[in-house]
Symmetry: C2
Subunit: 352 residues, 2 copies
């Protein structure tokens, strides 16, 4: 791993003086995420001192932002910082789905020609989101590959490690028929469905062509289409962790690529199914607009998009009211039933 | 994180039946890396049960393969598996430089259009190298972004987590004047200097143009230029860990981007310098050829290339003979001296 020092920027062969300012500003923001457990920045690896009991379970995940990046290429400015916040929150939610508390994060930023301002926006957004989730930004790799990436374009991946003790891990194994499925709202597409959305709105990646489309008002909304599409990926850590502290959750699903259809089954035991009622929650204008423009069938929309539900909890029916009362906008979206045969789909009610 | 299940491949919109075969073969090889500490594959995150005492220090690193990938795009076949092995070994060496033993690895593979065979080669190579280093391949993300990557091209990043106990961490702080600097040979460029090498050999990325160049015999070698360039990144874990077990090492450096010039200082305290003698070790024909063709000054060659030294150990002079006798090809390449002023370069003897 290359430390984020002038080395990286020197290799970019661009104005070192201008860069140095960006680096200094970044280093402060990165250092600001490092708690007592994190070691010095810039060695061959980032170091993290484990706290608490032995035999803890580490939970790790890797993910990318995907084609949502192309919106930032066109919109620029804070949209770049948004990509940084998105990848952090996406990763936080993934390990939260197993009950893990985030410990540290590393990023991989690859671009054609290093632009100091863009790096500062993106890595700054990552640092801010790490701090907001109580996690250290332990390091990252900044790669410059002119032959691979077009000027002004970059790819962004994130790696997270969290921990959970054996007695607190939530893997869905305790889920049983009669349990209640609770949905927590998303703020938009989060980081999935953008290949579809870009087709639907005819976004080509050419700023001159795309910006007028992105600045068009979205139906039944105060947002423009661009504002609604680029809206950030929410971290569910602050609302879900207090419930986990009290053992109120039996299973969780982070609704990402594959939607409710593919993600909810990941926490369900083989002997149950989740029967959902898609009329039980309000979607968002951006989803309504996408569904209407692309004439998406139920099967398609709940597979390609989160359709307004970003995170799902499965709880005992006796705990449902408590959970609902504590999470803003949470609604019952279905229930758990016995699975008659393995041929039965694990998630039901979303087909046409 | 998306589990490596048909979901990923289904989204690729290509022949599922053909893919399924690749997935099954891949899953076996991945499962083969999972020891008792690793949890089931395919949940929202990969799980790892910590062993041993509490308060261990985790060491994490993120890295990419860089433009060496473009050789695999042209050469194909096992060269793809080589990219997988390279990123694993690169990451293993990075955390080894702090004394850490690898625990688990995750990868990020991003491409334009998912090719099942290429994914099997790359991820298979990753799985094999993880197993060889006694580490679990805990998960990864496979992203398909047609607008970002050209057909047949991909980017590859790796993320590693290892552990070390406080008493065994090696951060160079004990290094003092009189200590000996020992170099361990590299097998080639490893994963750095390829932008330079591709310029020198006029490699454009077009197979028809590049293959004749890559199949040209390398001077003073039985390799072709292609064979020498694509040669794998060595893991130094098997030769170095036995020395760490006996406390024989005071500082380590993994010689990657920035060469000896930039990497050796990362383990040196501020009050010492390393005085190297570049005539003390034999380079490899590929480095001689690059230096001759590009007329690289000393300053340039030791910054852009590892020049035949892939990993460096700093040891007490009394331990030097023991260390030299146990590592095949290891040589004394310099010594540690007092730093008179902070203006003094931390590494000396490599300038012209």
């Amino acid at each position: 791993m290359s430390p984020r020092t002038p080395i990286t920027y020197k290799d970019a062969g661009v104005d070192i003086a201008a860069k140095s300012q960006a680096i200094l500003r970044l280093k402060d923001r990165v250092a600001d995420t490092l708690g007592n457990s994190a070691g010095p920045f810039g060695h061959f690896g980032g170091t993290w001192r484990m706290q608490g009991p032995a035999n803890q379970i580490l939970v790790a995940s890797a993910d990318g932002v995907g084609t949502k990046l192309r919106l930032a290429f066109v919109m620029g400015g804070d949209a770049h910082a948004g990509m940084g916040r998105d990848i952090v929150n996406h990763c936080v939610n993934d390990i939260l789905a197993l009950g893990a508390t985030p410990l540290f994060f590393l990023d991989y930023f690859a671009t054609g020609r290093l632009d100091g301002d863009v790096v500062e926006h993106v890595v700054g957004g990552i640092a801010d989101a790490c701090k907001a989730n109580g996690m250290a930004l332990l390091g990252g790799e900044t790669a410059e590959m002119p032959d691979m990436y077009a000027d002004g374009e970059y790819d962004l991946a994130g790696f997270i490690v969290g921990s959970v003790t054996e007695d607190r891990i939530v893997d869905g194994s305790k889920i049983e028929p009669g349990d209640v499925v609770i949905g927590i709202p998303s703020d938009g597409l989060h980081t999935n469905g953008f290949s579809l959305a870009r087709k639907v709105y005819d976004l080509t990646g050419d700023a001159e062509h795309d910006l007028p489309i992105l600045s068009t008002p979205l139906a039944n909304s105060e947002d423009t289409i661009g504002e609604a599409l680029v809206r950030g990926h929410r971290s569910y850590l602050p609302v879900v962790m207090p419930l986990l502290d009290r053992g109120l959750v039996r299973g969780m699903a982070h609704i990402t690529g594959g939607g409710l259809t593919d993600n909810l089954p990941r926490t369900l035991p083989n002997n149950v199914v989740a029967v959902l009622d898609p009329t039980s929650w309000a979607t968002l204008p951006i989803f309504d607009d996408l569904v209407e423009r692309a004439l998406l069938s139920n099967a398609e929309r709940y597979h390609a998009l989160n359709m307004g539900i970003g995170f799902v909890l499965v709880v005992q029916s006796a705990d449902a009211d408590t959970v609902l009362s504590e999470i803003d906008g949470a609604v019952v979206i279905g229930s758990i039933a016995t699975r008659i045969s393995v041929d039965e789909p694990a998630v039901q009610g979303l087909a046409d």
